[in-house]
């Protein structure tokens, strides 16, 4: 090595001396060195272009070789090697059943013979004519295959998510307020399944009015979310709608305080339990930088109730006059019941569309009235969790600090829109508010409705009907007109069924005895 290095060095020195000595021949050597370097660069470029071409072809050839050796053989024949036996047996059994249908096929033999000439001439491999309809004798699906199919579906969906799904996967923090009542099961079950299906990590904060209860915990145990927080809020939920809305606002603020203290990362979504979310909503929520707004659709409009409906009809009549009278009972037209941000043609936020329903009759408890003071609801907004953190300096200046908006000065309930100093900075989701991504189902049972805890009964229901095909008589019952003599009265007290028409006509033993008695007596 050293010798080589040594031998190299004199040559280098020599070349250096050569270039150094030829100071009087500088032009000559300079010219030679430049021509050499040009020539070298030219060769290099040619080689580069050549490798580009050759390299491209080489990779394609390598890909082709790889693909051609990877024969996707139909694994059906391979995998069912063990099960081939059962297939054949099914085939045999179906042949037995096909005999009936083969007779139908045989009828077409005559028809086929007429055309045999043409068939021979045409070398048709597939016969023309009536064919048997092959029905296997046990048409129900095999459970193994059903599971295979579901595995396939799940794996295909995973692949789809990898290829086309949202690349951002910020965790979602869902804040929900709830309390124990009849419809809690209806609403919570739906929300539970929705949140379990969200493809990113979900932290579910459930604030329960009146403290933590076992019933709610029973529902929440079925949730498959990344993290579940079941917190209790001291006050019980009031009965009135307006107060309920206010308490819910306080509870959501409590949830946000929890996010703030724990410094949770992610996107805060106000997933009310009576809302129906589409999974696209959670995908859209990923796009939020600081504050986002979505459109909510309102379902269960009390205007379908009669009083409001007649009012709408009145309005139509006033507008159009007598010509529209026959349309009194036609479906009245409503404006779209959507609440949310409103954009201009360029996609900038220009205002808020707040739905103003017709006033309700007070007795009709069919839904939650929208707040009369025309405010947006909490689920309309989607927040970045950092917007409520303590580090005030990191937030943009159009977001108010925590203390400024959480306790409103006039003592009313906190409103999420108050966090904004400048409305224009809100990011509008869902195709600029045109796409409705969640719906508010404003349906509740009456406050005094009774329901069993968790909708599970501890014991059987009270009324017992004998197990027959129909508990009710098939034909009209003929009640014997004279009252039975005192001897039959004891039989009558024996069966405590009450109204006689219910019991007779059936085929139970007791009724038979009852019917036979009057014959004897």
């Amino acid at each position: 090595m050293k010798k080589a290095a040594g031998s190299h060095r004199p040559s280098r020195m020599r070349s250096k001396n050569r270039s150094g000595f030829s100071s009087d021949q500088t032009s000559d050597t300079a010219f030679r060195s430049t021509s050499i370097s040009f020539f070298r660069i030219f060769i290099q470029c040619m080689f580069c272009i050549g490798t580009l071409v050759v390299g491209f072809r080489f990779t394609r050839e390598a890909h082709f070789l790889r693909a051609s050796f990877h024969h996707p053989e139909d694994s059906f024949s391979r995998r069912t090697g063990a099960r081939m036996g059962s297939l054949v047996s099914i085939g045999n059994r179906s042949d037995l059943d096909l005999r009936i249908q083969e007779e139908i096929a045989n009828d077409s033999e005559a028809f086929r013979l007429e055309n045999s000439e043409t068939i021979i001439r045409s070398r048709v491999r597939v016969d023309v004519g009536r064919h048997a309809i092959l029905i296997r004798p046990w048409p129900h699906p095999d459970p193994f295959e059903v599971i295979q199919a579901h595995h396939l579906i799940a794996r295909v969906q995973m692949e789809q998510w990898q290829l086309y799904g949202s690349k951002e996967s910020k965790p979602i923090i869902a804040i929900t307020t709830t309390f124990v009542r009849s419809f809690q099961a209806v609403h919570l079950t739906g929300l539970l399944h929705t949140l379990s299906l969200v493809p990113v990590h979900v932290t579910w904060i459930v604030m329960e009015a009146g403290g933590v209860t076992n019933e709610t915990a029973y529902f929440l145990s079925k949730a498959r979310v990344h993290r579940l927080l079941h917190l209790g809020f001291g006050d019980a939920m009031p009965a009135g709608l307006k107060e309920r809305g206010q308490l819910e606002a306080h509870m959501r603020v409590e949830g946000l305080r929890y996010v703030r203290e724990e410094k949770m990362e992610g996107i805060v979504v106000f997933a009310d339990e009576s809302n129906l979310h589409s999974l696209e909503f959670f995908t859209e929520a990923q796009k939020v930088d600081w504050v986002g707004a979505v459109s909510i659709g309102l379902l269960g409009f009390a205007g379908f109730e009669e009083p409001a409906q007649s009012r709408i009809a009145d309005v139509h009549q006033e507008e159009v006059g007598a010509g529209r009278r026959d349309n009194l009972f036609a479906r009245p037209t409503f404006e779209p019941q959507v609440q949310g941000p409103s954009c201009d043609s360029k996609g900038n936020l220009v205002g808020w569309h707040i739905f103003d329903p017709l006033p309700l009759e007070e007795e009709v408890y069919t839904g939650i009235m929208l707040a009369q003071n025309r405010r947006l609801e909490w689920p309309n907004f989607v927040l970045n969790a950092r917007a409520v953190w303590k580090t005030e300096g990191n937030q943009p200046e159009w977001i108010k600090s925590w203390d400024e908006w959480v306790t409103p000065k006039d003592g009313s309930a906190p409103d999420i829109k108050a966090i904004l100093r400048d409305d224009k900075q809100v990011k509008v989701l869902g195709d600029c508010g045109r796409k409705v991504l969640l719906w508010w189902l404003r349906a509740e049972a009456r406050a005094d409705s009774r329901h069993p805890a968790n909708w599970v009964l501890d014991e059987n229901l009270e009324i017992i009907v004998p197990a027959k095909s129909t508990p009710w008589p098939d034909r009209p019952v003929r009640v014997p007109s004279p009252p039975p003599p005192p001897a039959a009265a004891t039989v009558g007290t024996g069966s405590k069924r009450g109204a006689g028409s219910r019991v007779s006509g059936g085929k139970g033993r007791r009724s038979k005895r009852r019917q036979s008695r009057p014959n004897i007596s």
Binding site: S11, R12, R40, Q44, F47, C48, G50, T51, L52, V54, G55, F56, F58, T59, A62, H63, R66, P72, D74, S75, F76, R79, L87, S94, I104, A105, N115, I119, R121, S122, V124, R125, V126, V128, R130, H131, I133, L134, I135, R136, P139, H140, P141, D142, E145, V146, Q148, A149, L152, I153, V156, Q157, E159, Q160, W161, Q162, L163, Y164, S166, T283
Partner: protein, 447 residues
């Protein structure tokens, strides 16, 4: 495609470094430092490893498609052939259209659109002497019933009349008796000109078209009505109607098998067994209660959207083996399950259909759920990757305006692949091969 570019870039870098090595050794680099040589050596090794790694990169969205004729789906036919379009009087084409403009929207509208395309295409030549192929614009499928179904009873006479017209006014038909002419016959059984299979087989292909190339939708092996050398095209489906109904590709595919259509044709075949050779009825009887199969006769307005949410779409035969469901399945990325024995699918030499779809023999239809659930995951993903290739979606559509790689270009590619013509098709002057009095008596009446 991005993968190929990355690969070529990497190869270029490797090339440069290798060249540097060679040059450094050969030309005795001025700066002959050993550390620089080590660094370049390490770089080349690193790039070599990278090059090897990229061979195993699997996160590609789609794969290239190459059929039995090679990688020909994206060939450009312009410059490879010349087509001369005969100018026939309006009674062969325009009058039919004027009489019934529904001809432009039904499944057989390909003949009108191919005419339109060829008139405006760069492959059209006004000099017939230099033309390789000759096209006769005669609309034989435009005689519609009030329901919109084409009646083929006049079609043989119309075709014979058109051919006698061109043989009278131009010498090119007699030169080859149709050897270098092509006709678009998109009807149910092609040039057999009948919608019932027995009658079509009995009639056979129209004798005057014996030597011509036929462009048709019907394709079944060992069948009278498929002439060897025919080009099979997909049925016409309006592209805008389908392309306006795409849903985001991240919508999860949750339907296993999807089908909407008739199982029994009550009007024509009330007992079953004739229609679809009993295959559709077998599907219904066996799988109507199977929760994995979303099959029904109800017409739903979300048909295209549902197809995009399904993994497998059934494409069984009907009265004829081909069906527009194949086109819809390919456009919407649903793997087509083809239940039609011996069928020849569109552009079969350019598109490797066995790799894309699932073929189920008609006698195995009652085990369809078994067959489908036992397909391995890798195969399903492979097929979906092939379907995601935009080239194949383009090849199935008759786009307006025409786009490169669409069905029109595939037809021209097919015609170009048949060039140069076999010198045997050229007849000696005065030689006659076709017998004009051959065929059904009713067809011989002039039109």
């Amino acid at each position: 495609m991005e993968l190929a570019k990355v690969g070529s870039l990497v190869d270029c870098c490797i090339g440069i470094v290798v060249v540097e090595e060679i040059m450094g050794g050969f030309w005795k680099l001025r700066s002959n430092n050993s550390w620089r040589k080590n660094v370049s050596f390490l770089m080349s090794v690193g790039l070599l490893l990278l090059f090897l790694c990229q061979l195993s990169l699997a996160t590609v969205h789609h794969q290239r498609i190459s059929g039995s004729a090679g990688d020909v789906l994206e060939d450009n036919p312009i410059g490879r052939l010349k087509v001369f379009v005969y100018e026939l009087p309006g009674r062969y084409n325009k009058k039919w259209l004027k009489r019934d403009p529904r001809c432009l929207t039904h499944m057989f509208a390909a003949e009108e659109f191919v005419h339109d395309f060829l008139l405006k295409s760069p492959v059209r030549t006004l000099d017939p002497e230099e033309a390789d192929w000759f096209y006769t614009p005669v609309y034989t499928t435009c005689d519609l019933t009030p329901n919109g179904l084409p009646l083929p009873f006049k079609s043989p006479r119309v075709m014979r009349s058109a051919i006698s017209y061109i043989s009278m006014y131009w010498p090119f038909w007699n030169r080859t008796e149709g050897g270098d002419h092509f006709f678009v016959v998109p009807h149910d059984f092609g040039a057999c000109f009948h919608y019932q299979e027995e009658n079509a087989i009995e009639r056979g292909i129209l004798p005057v078209l014996k030597r011509a190339t036929l462009v048709q939708t019907f394709g079944q092996n060992h069948h009278v009505c498929l002439k060897e050398g025919s080009i099979v095209i997909p049925p016409y489906a309006p592209p805008e109607k389908m392309q306006s109904r795409f849903i985001p590709p991240s919508t999860p595919r949750s339907i296993f098998v999807y089908f909407r259509g008739l199982f029994y044709d009550i009007g024509n075949d009330p007992e079953g067994g004739y229609y679809a050779r009993g295959a559709r009825a077998a599907v219904w009887e066996n799988f109507k209660d199977n929760p994995l199969f979303d099959i029904s006769t109800q017409h739903t307005s979300t048909y295209y959207e549902d197809m995009q949410r399904a993994i497998f779409c059934l494409c069984p035969l009907g009265w004829a083996p081909w069906s527009p469901r194949l086109v819809e399945g390919v456009i919407f990325g649903c793997i087509p399950v083809i239940i039609a024995d011996d069928i020849v699918l569109p552009f079969a030499d350019a598109i490797p259909w066995e790799k894309i779809g699932v073929f189920v023999p008609e006698k195995e239809v009652h085990n369809l759920d078994k067959i489908l659930s036992l397909i391995s995951l890798e195969q399903v993903l492979e097929k979906q990757k092939l379907l995601a290739n935009p080239a194949i979606k383009q090849a199935m559509l008759f786009s307006q305006p025409t786009l490169p790689g669409d069905a029109f270009h595939q037809i021209l590619n097919g015609l170009a692949r048949k060039l140069p013509h076999d010198p045997h098709i050229y007849l000696k002057p005065g030689q006659r091969v076709l017998n004009w009095s051959e065929g059904h008596k009713k067809d011989l009446k002039p039109w």
